[in-house]
């Protein structure tokens, strides 16, 4: 027996392939949508991975430092370091800001990391070019997604930083690429306003008679000095010594330092569960709609192809073709279309994913799930065509 479906596909391969490609692009969009969601989750996880921390110590009653603002005194780490089970405690600051790059702005997460201590938590864990920061000031490691290259100058607030290293996939939970700078600079950057604002603030302070006391000229200087200092950081990254349970160490920091502490799982819950939950539902809706649209398109195409052959189907039935053979032909065509569509979709998604401004993570598991979905959708979509084909009366071939 010859494959009727195969012959039909061969006969009208142009229509078939182009329809398949069209469907494939739609499937590609669907896979990309799933990839966008995976990318968001991965962005969150990558941020946590890259900070290399076991515990995040943040301001009390906040969900900081990623989901909410948090600020701690920058000497809190000393006390935390002394708690039993803590292997290291490192200050870190995060500041999302626009940074000028050539003619345009890029949105970056400026991360202040402790320099001088090799491989400290918060450091970019791997580079793709250049080197890690060695100077305590005015050096930066930037993510390639920012567009900066080695040797470029980044202006952050008042200071210019030389890009000495490049990273890849170092992003904030909202996908903004990270720029690592020494923490002292970062504290300044986080606090310092532009020059005008500083002058305005000084002027206001000077005009305040309580602070600018005649006869006590030193008071003003002292007040201004405290105003221009920033003894805060956003979080302390804690690594736990081997052999200590994370929740116990977290509990003792919570109890004795009266600070909020999150471990890795809680942090993931905050980032994935809270920060991107709505986006995830949004994308879920999109996926459902795209699946329905894909199903409708497959159904429509298969139905059209079948209806175009109704006379042939009648003849086939008249000359003794089994219903099973005819249903098989339609089903095979639907599956063939789905297969072409899936392959085209997977290939196109893979090729356009890197072009997206945010990370799109195409997981093989998603591809397999997508393939199963495509098969199921094709089977369901061919059902109506099969039903229509089986309803064809062989008598229609005779007499008219």
């Amino acid at each position: 027996m010859i494959s009727l479906a195969g012959r039909d596909i061969l006969h009208s391969w142009g229509k078939f392939v182009f329809t398949g490609i069209g469907l494939g692009l739609l499937i590609g969009v669907t896979l990309t949508m799933a990839g966008v969601y995976r990318g968001m989750v991965d962005d969150a996880k990558v941020l946590l991975d890259n900070s290399a921390a076991d515990l995040w110590v943040v301001q009390k009653d906040t969900l900081g430092p990623y989901a909410e603002p948090s600020s701690l005194y920058d000497d809190n780490w000393r006390g935390i370091r002394n708690i039993q089970g803590v292997a290291s405690a490192t200050n870190v600051t995060y500041l999302t800001m626009q940074v000028r790059h050539g003619e345009s702005d890029v949105r970056v997460l400026v991360t202040g990391v402790v320099t001088g201590e090799t491989g400290a938590p918060g450091w970019p864990p791997h580079l793709i070019a250049g080197r890690q920061i060695t100077r305590g000031h005015y050096e930066a490691v930037a993510d390639v997604a920012t567009g900066f290259k080695l040797g470029d100058q980044i202006k952050i607030r008042r200071n210019v930083y030389a890009v000495v290293g490049l990273t890849r996939r170092m992003v904030s939970s909202s996908g903004d690429p990270m720029v690592f700078i020494p923490i002292k600079d970062a504290q300044q950057a986080q606090f310092l306003k532009d020059n005008d604002a500083i002058l305005e603030q000084r002027r206001r302070t000077e005009q305040n008679p309580a602070l600018n006391r005649p006869g006590l000229p030193e008071v003003l200087d002292a007040v201004i000095a405290t105003q221009s200092a920033n003894p805060f950081v956003n979080a302390v990254l804690v690594q736990v010594k081997p052999g200590y349970a994370h929740p116990e160490v977290a509990e003792s920091i919570r109890r004795w330092k009266r600070l909020q502490v999150y471990d890795r799982l809680q942090m993931e819950e905050i980032l994935v569960g809270k920060l991107i939950a709505t986006s995830a539902r949004q994308i879920g809706m999109f996926l459902v709609i795209l699946a329905v649209v894909s199903a409708a398109i497959v159904a429509f195409i298969i139905y059209t192809l079948t209806m175009g052959k109704i006379r042939e189907i009648a003849v086939l039935k008249l000359i003794g073709t089994r219903n099973r053979t005819i249903a098989g032909m339609i089903l095979q065509q639907a599956l063939g279309l789905g297969l072409i569509g899936f392959v085209v979709g997977k290939v196109s998604a893979t090729f356009w994913a890197p072009v997206f401004p945010k990370y799109v993570l195409l997981e093989p598991g998603d591809a397999i799930r997508g393939f199963v979905a495509v098969v199921v959708i094709c089977v369901l979509a061919s059902a109506i065509s099969i039903w229509a084909a089986l309803k064809v009366d062989p008598a229609e071939a005779i007499g008219g």
Binding site: L4, D8, I319, T321, P394, I398, G399, G400
Partner: protein
């Protein structure tokens, strides 16, 4: 009883029931011997199509008997249960238009029937090629139907009707779209094939050009058949 290609006795077909019942066929009696080509003529609405559908085992008659060869296939009900196999193996169809399967080439269009009957692809194609040779279209064996002329298509469709060596061939207005010479050529082929393959061929037609060629004609009028002797003109 003479072994007939097909024998029809008292065939009736009623559509609907009660007050609205319509008797399309009231009393149809036909006997066609193998190798014979008979005409079936009648005006529109005479029950021609219904008869053809009953003969083609796609519409169930209401009463009567139908025998193909030695096999009783209808006796007030279907005696044969697998009508599909019946159509495939015992009845050949030739339609007004060739109705070839557009996505199969000429050989496979013909070979499809033996394949459906369970023959291997190679055997089926061998049979198909033999018939195509007999019908003088073997040189187009690899062509697609859309690449053939109308006459070639019609010959391929005749080959398809014959390929399973059915005892009965039903031809539904096979010459309708053709001019005189071509129509006569088709009838000639049918006659030739009927003799060669011992098939009983019923040609449904109202084509005045070819009616004189039949030796025997069944007129169907008001659901009843009347047998006539035709001119049996020798058109060769």
């Amino acid at each position: 009883m003479v072994t007939a290609g097909i024998r029809i006795e008292g065939l009736r077909k009623r559509f609907g029931s009660g007050d609205t019942a319509v008797d399309a066929l009231k009393d149809v009696n036909m006997v066609i011997t193998p190798g014979e080509v008979v005409g079936l003529v009648g005006p529109s609405g005479s029950g021609k199509s219904t008869l053809l559908k009953c003969l083609g085992a796609v519409v169930e008659p209401s009463a009567g008997r139908m025998t193909i060869g030695d096999e009783l296939i209808y006796d007030n009900r279907w005696v044969i249960k697998d009508l599909r196999a019946l159509r495939r193996d015992k009845i050949g169809f030739i339609f007004q238009a060739p109705y070839l399967i557009p996505f199969l080439d000429v050989t496979d269009n013909v070979a499809l029937l033996p394949m459906l009957a369970g023959l291997s692809n190679a055997m089926a194609r061998k049979q198909a090629l033999e018939l195509l040779q007999a019908l003088d279209v073997a040189h187009r064996a690899r062509a697609m139907p859309s690449q053939l002329s109308g006459g070639e298509q019609q010959r391929v469709s005749i080959a398809r009707a014959l390929v399973n060596r059915p005892p009965v061939i039903l031809a539904d207005e096979p010459t309708a779209p053709l001019d005189g010479a071509r129509a006569l050529a088709v009838i000639r082929i049918l006659n030739q094939m009927a003799r060669q393959y011992e098939a009983a061929i019923i040609v449904v037609t109202h084509d005045e050009k070819i009616i004189p060629t039949f030796k025997r004609i069944y007129h169907i009028r008001d659901g009843k058949t009347h047998e006539e002797v035709g001119e049996g003109r020798d058109f060769e």
